[in-house]
Each structure stands twice: as structure tokens, then as C-alpha cells.
Symmetry: C2
Subunit: 421 residues, 2 copies
């Protein structure tokens, strides 16, 4: 059985590699045509899509999936509309491929510069949401990459039906059907194979829970663009404007609790206890946020705040819980963030230029902010027009990853018969 | 024993991480001071360096190292001069760190852009040449990274003596001695540990033979900037200028045989046999280059060319051997390169704009050239001012890697109390 799966995945990989050559040289118009024709196909396949999804929903209900999982899995007319809208938005984005930059003469007389090119073949591994199938495929098509999509087994019927629409869209634009391939086996060995075919797959993007991402990163021999923890901080500096500090610390924690860019630890300068911390506690309490403080916080607010335990500083709650620490200097705040943070997103609230400049330089995170809520760390908010994920790695893509994260640059050289002396 | 090594490497890693914070916020002047003070220390330690090197040379002679290895290992006054000159050149390069670019307003009112930052801690693993110790350390210091250097055991005394000079240079600039650390054990377990400490090491750069690089890439859990094969092609197009074609195909093969950017396979359009291939064969023969041809080449030049075997198209000879194939179209040439090449460096010789444009777009290599010798694929020739290696990967750095390859970009956001709605 596993041998059959290996064989099947190798064939997917080989045909994806071939298709990637076609996509790499495709015109912008051709790629956009594929996206818009897929949108049409989805629109005309609503009945089929909903019927396929109902099969997945029934099986998942029978398997006892919880309500949150079932909600993520469900397709309905509004969600199909969103997929169609998403395809149109990606079609409207500028094409990153082919951009030539920095061509300059060097002393030998050649001209050297760079040209933006697709990565080749992207493997996407994700969980229940079937809309990821369209979203990920559309970004890969636009950036000239072939893609192999491995969704959750609970969404297999929905994903196959969506794949059929993608095939129709690709055909209209004259692309091979193998430009986007959905893995049609639910055998887990397929994932193991997908992440260890460096000949056929150039990068893996896992989307899902931390467990999935850690497992894939550990076992992959193909590079992985990954997002692990989001332990984000807001530091209220000695020179903070109290109004801005309260607004930002409230928004970063409570606007939504689940996202990875929500604040998990509030660091506050000791001079800001009365002006900022006290009113913030009122706000958090009114919103039922559980508060856990360092010794100083507990000493001041014994009745309102629990003591942190050893694990709190590095915890990603994704819930209405907040850790709070009083610090006596900017240095202490920066050290805390670089030690306990996850290099995701951290913000300082300050009116002092030098403190802001130091925070910007010394905090080693993928997004570093001044006087803004950590909740802005997002591809759409940053104007990327799309987001394949957020990377907490330092190599290749860092922070929110849009179309550019699915591309690379090669050197190009123009000469006129030049040889090396 | 292995446990001791693990412990030792963990301590190196932890102190490198700490030192990286100091280097990351260092001024350009401070980094340059460390480089120039190291140059002074080398100049004043000539006797010590030569004595340490003599210990390595004696041991290596006793161990029966071959002449080529011994030559790479040897230090002398001229090579110390070169190390000093190299430090001065790196000090003169522009500092890439801290560059802020693309700051722009997005609809929410925040300003978003990017800032260039060091990667953190770089692990360099290399073989006999002691000059790599200075070269790699200087690039890491300039780019604000801490570094852990693991040279060959045959160069251990030389490397320790050089490390002493680096420590003196770091001290003059007020940097911790742990900013550059030479692994002082020759136990092989040290390498295994270095490449599996993602908490402490951000990227590994192996420099050496293919065996070393493959082993490290396979076993590393830290990202690796690597260079594997250099199977480079020159394609002489139907529309090639014969004079340029001959000059380039000669230079790409014979200017030097060993470098990774030397041509290994010549692809030639069938219309160019008399104008280009015939005179080229004379040149290659006069230089004792062994010629291996496809069936068509053998049919035309049976007495001058051997038949290729199955392995020749993918072979990296690094020697006076050349594979030659006659093709009947640009498509055939591009397919050959994408199938058998190593995505290193490939060049087309042509006067036809459309052929040049297609070759540039469709050949998936880290350097793609028009009317220039593949031998130009080099960080110094490209004007990078330095080269830590050449990457045949697509992610992060592709092609010759200079200072920028040792950096990353983080997002930065400026607001004025902005929160997400």
C-alpha cells in the first residue's frame, strides 16, 4: 500500500515539475485567464460543490468532529462567493514574475542584475478548510508555480470538487491540468513522501496547528516556510502617551483573542502604573480577561491579578488571558522580548525618538512596531494583497508572506562576447 | 566524550547567541574597527601564525596528506598579507545593516516598510584553508552576525592562532570575544551538534567538497546555504556571432578547469557546425581537452571525439574534458539544460533578441547569461565585494552570496496610536 502511495506521489511530483516549466514562462494574461475561468467554474458548480461538501460534513459528523471543525469544513453559498471574490482579487494583483532590477555595469564590461522567477513547485499541506484549496492554488498560479495540495482527509470530497473547477480553469487558459494537483489519497504516507521529494518539490507551506507544522518541519527534507508561535508583546515605555498606550494595549489583546498577532504579554514601565496600567486593568476586567502578573504587579493589585507561573512568559494563550510584567527600563523590556518572545510581532508605545529607534533596531522579531497595535501584522493590512502565511523564520520570507514569498531571484548577465581574463 | 562535546557546543551556541545581540546593534564604525584591529593583530603575529601553521604542516605531512591539500593548508608571508588585505576590503564595503526601505502608508493609516537586520548566528564549516577563518569571520562581523567556525582538524593550530588575532581585534572594538568562536575540539561530534542547534544557530554555510556539503545538508536541522554541483552550459544559438561564440566557449572551458562555473557541456545549433564547432575543436585539441560528443558530433568528427556515455550529460568534470551536443532548436537546448544541468550558470550566445529573451526566462539557473562566459559567475565579478559562497538553492540566497546573504529583512510599522478596527 505505502509503495503504491510513494509511486503515486512520485508521479504527481514529476508531472508538477513538468507543468512548472509551462507556468514559469506563461504570460500575465494567461495566468489571469486561468484564475478568472476557475472563478466561473466555481460559480457554475455550486450544486456539485455543496453536494460534495455535504458528503464530507456527514462523514465528519459521524466521526464526531467538534463544532469548530465542522464550521471550518462547511461550504455554503456565501463561502463560494468568497472563493470567487478571492480569485478575482488575485487576478487583479500585479504579476511579480519577470521583474528585472539593478542591471548595472561592472568593471569587466558585463551588465549584472536580477530577475524575479517562480520557485517551481510548491507543496501546500493544510487542514479542514476547503477554501484554502482555491486560495493557495490561486497564489501559486499567479506567481507561476505548479502546486501540489494536500488537504485534510475530512475535506477530501470538497477538495476534489474544487480541484475539478481548477482543472477547468487551467484548461481554458491552455495550461496542463497537472499545474495544480490535489492529492486524492487520504493515506498519511502521502505527506511523508511530499515533504521528502526535493527533486520535485521546491518548498512546503504547511497551514494548520502547531503540531502539524512542527511534525512537518522536523521530517521534511524540502525547505519549509513555517509559522510557529505568536507570543507578541506590547511595551509601554516611560515616555508613552497614556491614551495611545491604553488604546493599543486594549486593541492588541481584546480585538480578537485567537489570532497569532494578538498580544500575550504586556510589558509596562514602572512609571506608567497609575496612568496606564490601572485604567487598562479596568478595561480587561470589563471584558473578562484573566490577568496574570509578575511579583510587582501582584504586590500592587493582589486582589485583581493572579501570579504568573514559570510557563506564562513563553505562553501563546490565544485566549482572554494576559501576562503582565512591570519593568524598570527599556533594556529590561527588550531583553524580556528577545528571551521569551517568538520573534513574531512586538510593539513599543513611546513618544521618545531614541527609545523608539533602539526598540526598532534591537528587537529581533519579524514585525517590530512603534505606536501601533500588534494586530496589524497581516499580509492584507501590510498591503501585500494576499497572504499565503506568516513566517517566523529568518531565511527567505520573514513575516507575512504574499506572492513575493513564492518567488526567487536569479542573476542575469548581459555581455557582448565578454570573456574572463 | 560525546556528551562533553555536546555540552561544549551548547555553551558556544549560547554565548554566540548572546554576542549576536551586541553585534546586531553595533555601529558601522565599531564593526570596521574590529576588522582593522584584527588586521593589525595578524600583522603583529606573523611569527606566531607561521609557527602554529608549521605544527599543522608537520602533522599533515606525517599523516600523508597530498600536495594539493598541503598547499591549501600552508601559510606564508604572502598569504598573511592577503588575509590582512581582505580585512581592509571588507571594512571598506558599505554596511548593509539598518537599511530601511519601502516605507509607505496603507489605508489604515500605519506606515509599513522593511529594515535589514543580521541573521543572528552563522555556523561555518570548512576544510583545510586557514584563510577561510579570517574571510568568513570578517563577513559575519561586517553583517552584524556572531559566528562559530569549524575548520578542518588538520588546520587546528593555525585556526586557533588566527582566532587569537580575531579576539584581539574584537576586544579593541569593545565586542565580546564570543562574537567569533573557533571550535577548539577536533571531535567530529562537534559538527553534528553545530548543525542541529536551531535555538542557537540561524544558518550553516558549509564550504568544501560535495561530500561534506551533502552530509551536512542531509543531517542539519538548521537551514543550510549550500552549493552542490556546477554543471554549466554554453549554448551556441543559430543566430550566434561565430567570433563571440568561439571566444566564449573557449574561455568558459579552458580559462580554468577546476572552478564550479567552468563549462562542462557545449550545446551547439546544427547550423553552427562549420562556423563554430570545427574551429573550436582545433582550439580544444591544442589545449589537450578530451572531447566527448553526442551521436551527431561523433558522426561528423569520428576521429576526434569519443562517444558520450549515459553519465556525461550530468557530469561535473572540473577537468579538461568537455561534452558536446548538437541540437536542432533553442527548445532542445533549453530542455537539455533544465533536465541535465545543476541550475548553476548557463549562457546563450546569440544575436537574436527573442532567442535571448526566451533563454533568459526559461532557463531555471541561478545565473543566466547572454553573450558572456560562464566564468563570470562569481561574487567579485558581480560586484558584491565579497563572497561567502555560491548558492544553488532557490530559497533565501541564489547564486553568488555576499554580505546580503548573511542578512534578513524584518517588517517595521510606524503608527500614532493606531489600532485595528
Amino acid at each position: 500500500m505505502t509503495e503504491l502511495v510513494v509511486d503515486y506521489m512520485q508521479r504527481l511530483g514529476e508531472s508538477a515539475r513538468e507543468a512548472s516549466r509551462v507556468l514559469a514562462r506563461a504570460s500575465t494574461a494567461q495566468k489571469n485567464q486561468a484564475l478568472l475561468a476557475t472563478a466561473d467554474a466555481l460559480d457554475q458548480s455550486r450544486t456539485v460543490l455543496l453536494a460534495a461538501n455535504e458528503l464530507d460534513m456527514e462523514a465528519s459528523r459521524a466521526n464526531g468532529l467538534d463544532d469548530a471543525m465542522l464550521d471550518r469544513l462547511a461550504l455554503n453559498s456565501a463561502r463560494i462567493d468568497e472563493m470567487i471574490e478571492g480569485l478575482k482579487q488575485v487576478a487583479a494583483l500585479p504579476d511579480p514574475i519577470g521583474e528585472i532590477r539593478d542591471m548595472h555595469f561592472v568593471p569587466s564590461g558585463i551588465q549584472v542584475g536580477k530577475m524575479r522567477v517562480p520557485l517551481g513547485v510548491i507543496g501546500i499541506i493544510y487542514e479542514s478548510r476547503p477554501n484554502v484549496t482555491v486560495e493557495a492554488a490561486s497564489l501559486c498560479i499567479k506567481s507561476g508555480n505548479a502546486t501540489i495540495l494536500r488537504g485534510g482527509s475530512e475535506a477530501i470530497h470538497s477538495n476534489k470538487a474544487i480541484a475539478q473547477c481548477l482543472k477547468e480553469g487551467l484548461a481554458v487558459a491552455g495550461f496542463p491540468a497537472t499545474a495544480v494537483q490535489v492529492v486524492e489519497t487520504t493515506d498519511r504516507a502521502a505527506v511523508g513522501e511530499l515533504i521528502t521529494m526535493p527533486n520535485y518539490v521546491d518548498v512546503i507551506v504547511p497551514r494548520g496547528g502547531k503540531g502539524l507544522i512542527e511534525r512537518i518541519s522536523r521530517d521534511a527534507s524540502v525547505p519549509v516556510i513555517k509559522h510557529l508561535d505568536g507570543v507578541c508583546h506590547v511595551y509601554v515605555d516611560q515616555a508613552a502617551d497614556a491614551g495611545k498606550a491604553i488604546r493599543i494595549a486594549d486593541n492588541a489583546k481584546t480585538q480578537r483573542y485567537a489570532p497569532c498577532n494578538a498580544m500575550e504579554t504586556l510589558l509596562i514601565h514602572e512609571s506608567q502604573v497609575d496612568a496606564v496600567l490601572r485604567p487598562l486593568l479596568d478595561i480587561y476586567e470589563s471584558k473578562q480577561v484573566e490577568l496574570r502578573g509578575c511579583e510587582k504587579v501582584c504586590a500592587l493589585f493582589a486582589d485583581r491579578v493572579k501570579a504568573v507561573t514559570a510557563d506564562d512568559w513563553a505562553a501563546e494563550y490565544n485566549a482572554p488571558i494576559l501576562a503582565i510584567r512591570i519593568v524598570s527600563s527599556l533594556d529590561e523590556a527588550i531583553s524580556h522580548i528577545n528571551r521569551y518572545g517568538s520573534q513574531h510581532t512586538d510593539s513599543i508605545v513611546t513618544e521618545n525618538f531614541t527609545d523608539a529607534r533602539r526598540f526598532l533596531t534591537e528587537v529581533d522579531s519579524s514585525s517590530v512596531m512603534i505606536n501601533a497595535s500588534t494586530r496589524f501584522a497581516d499580509g492584507f493590512e501590510y498591503g501585500l494583497g494576499a497572504e499565503i502565511g506568516i513566517s517566523t523564520d529568518k531565511l527567505h520570507a520573514r513575516g507575512p508572506v504574499g506572492l513575493l514569498g513564492l518567488t526567487s531571484e536569479k542573476y542575469i548577465v548581459f555581455g557582448d562576447g565578454h570573456v574572463r581574463g
